[in-house]
């Protein structure tokens, strides 16, 4: 089925927004279920079968709440900040390949584009925290930024390693390179890749402000962090942005390391909708891991967090970068291959 260009754009636009909104709603449900089962409870169960209508009720509740703009805030920045978190996240979906042909715009520099938009996210947190004119919000924004700046470096170094390995920044091409079974995934490309994946995943957790790195909203110290002053849908939009960012982080991890929409075994199809199935299955598995980690590990301290990035992750990722470069360029010279 082919659509003409304007209709294709429109279809992707509606599809992506629906995907983000539905995921935000149902990932909250999933999070509560996972948290419940990990803590020996059963999570939401009253509204609908298995509590499946709970997100709907939550949404109605959030939307019917009054949007308070407290005195003394910067009204413009206060209102714009949630959008600054959500909109770039939605933009990033433009270039994510959900299936072999299911990508809104197959941009040559897609990987770079996602990081460009992800960097705007921090701006939203900062302006929201500052605009709230609230001590807790300002402290939280300062924390969130120092954390994001620190973890962007090992993440980008890891990504540069992957770009060296694939010599492309086109996400779909990266996935195509990983075809033909689980052993061709970049996760197994060389012995260093599992470590690179681990670094990328930890950085993704930190970049999206997820526990155990959610210093920005440590509720025991900072009430609710940068969104302390937000009520109703203002808070809801922050939350949607957070979940959208988690999906993007996990999608990137899947595309870079775990073969994107490629099926794990050659005898299983990855054509058409099967590709979408494999992609989403991997992404949701990673999202489940994110939740699993959140409800298993306690929050770190700010010092521990920054030390982990500057003293452990950055040197290791630099080492991986160097060794991968050596493997690509020097190894063939020694062995005389190619």
């Amino acid at each position: 089925m082919t659509l003409t260009e304007p209709w294709r754009v429109l279809a992707f636009l509606v599809g992506i927004i629906a995907f983000v909104a539905l995921n935000a709603a149902y990932l909250v449900w999933l999070e509560r279920k996972v948290a419940g089962h990990i803590q020996g409870r059963i999570g939401p169960k009253e509204v609908g079968p298995f509590g499946l209508l709970q997100p709907l009720a939550d949404g109605i509740k959030l939307m019917s709440k009054q949007l308070l703009v407290p005195k003394g805030v910067d009204p413009l920045l206060f209102k714009v900040a949630p959008l600054l978190v959500l909109v770039p996240a939605v933009m990033s979906f433009v270039t994510i390949p959900f299936g072999e042909n299911l990508v809104a715009r197959n941009i040559d520099i897609g990987l770079l584009m996602i990081f460009a938009f992800a960097s705007v996210n921090v701006m939203g947190l900062l302006l929201g925290g500052w605009g709230s004119n609230n001590k807790y919000a300002v402290i939280s924004a300062a924390r969130a930024v120092s954390q994001n700046v620190a973890y962007e470096i090992p993440m980008l170094i890891t990504v540069v390693t992957m770009i060296m390995l694939t010599s492309t920044m086109n996400l779909n091409e990266m996935v195509i390179q990983q075809g033909g079974g689980i052993l061709n995934w970049h996760f197994f490309a060389n012995p260093l890749m599992p470590f690179a994946f681990l670094i990328f995943f930890v950085c993704a957790l930190a970049e999206t402000n997820r526990a155990p790195f959610d210093l920005g909203e440590a509720e025991s110290e900072l009430i609710a962090g940068f969104h302390t002053e937000y009520s109703g849908m203002g808070f809801g939009v922050f939350f949607m942005g957070e979940y959208a960012n988690i999906i993007i982080g996990c999608s990137l991890a899947v595309i870079l390391f775990l073969g994107g929409w490629q099926s794990p075994f050659e005898f299983l199809s990855d054509q058409g909708l099967w590709g979408v199935f494999w992609f989403l299955a991997k992404v949701y598995f990673l999202i489940f891991c994110v939740m699993w980690i959140r409800w298993t590990y306690p929050r770190t301290t700010l010092w521990g967090l920054l030390n982990l990035s500057w003293k452990i992750l950055i040197p290791i990722s630099l080492l991986i970068l160097l060794l991968t470069g050596a493997m690509i360029k020097v190894w063939p010279l020694i062995t005389g291959a190619s």
Partner: protein
């Protein structure tokens, strides 16, 4: 006159919108008495400029503009402002009476000069696409044509790193 409902017409509309975003952001950046708002205006201006680059078929430069200027420079500025002065807005120092006319005069002169330069120069026709923009091309360009620039930039960055280390070290007690 191009009709609005053709590809060119819509592109023109998008172009005008991007220009409006750029100019509007710049005006906010210059005019706002609150520093964080001014930085937000600056960020909007940068996003507009990135849009202009995209409009000029340079997605790589556009993305870099977003990544470096919005994601790094603006965030650093806001961060610095927040650490220095989280509370009341400060009055910008009193301006002298000649500041506005002189500023406008210099601005008009600059604008006139740039505009004349743009109109009078015989621009070579731009290629539709310079290269494929692949990583290999960028790498080749960086170590052949722009090798000198590349080395100089790395030197500047090295100096910046050493400088920041010195500054950070000085702030710490002897421990």
């Amino acid at each position: 006159m191009i009709s609005l409902f053709t590809a060119e017409g819509l592109a023109g509309l998008v172009f005008l919108f991007i220009v409006a975003v750029t100019v509007g952001g710049a005006l906010i950046a210059v005019g706002s008495p609150r520093l964080p708002r001014a930085v937000a205006g600056l960020a909007i201006c940068f996003i507009g400029v990135a849009g202009l680059y995209y409009f000029l078929h340079s997605p790589f430069v556009a993305v870099m503009e977003m990544l470096i200027y919005v994601g790094a420079v603006c965030v650093t500025i806001v961060f610095a402002i927040m650490l220095a002065d989280p509370g009341d807005e400060q009055k910008v120092g009193r301006r002298s009476a000649v500041a506005a006319p002189v500023g406008f005069g210099v601005g008009a002169l600059l604008f006139w000069g740039m505009a004349m330069l743009g109109i009078k120069t015989m621009w070579p026709a731009a290629a539709a696409k310079v290269n494929t923009g692949s990583v290999t091309d960028i790498g080749h360009a960086l170590i052949t044509n722009y090798g000198m620039v590349f080395e100089l930039i790395s030197l500047v960055l090295l100096l910046a790193i050493i400088g920041s280390l010195v500054l950070a070290r000085a702030g710490r007690g002897k421990s």
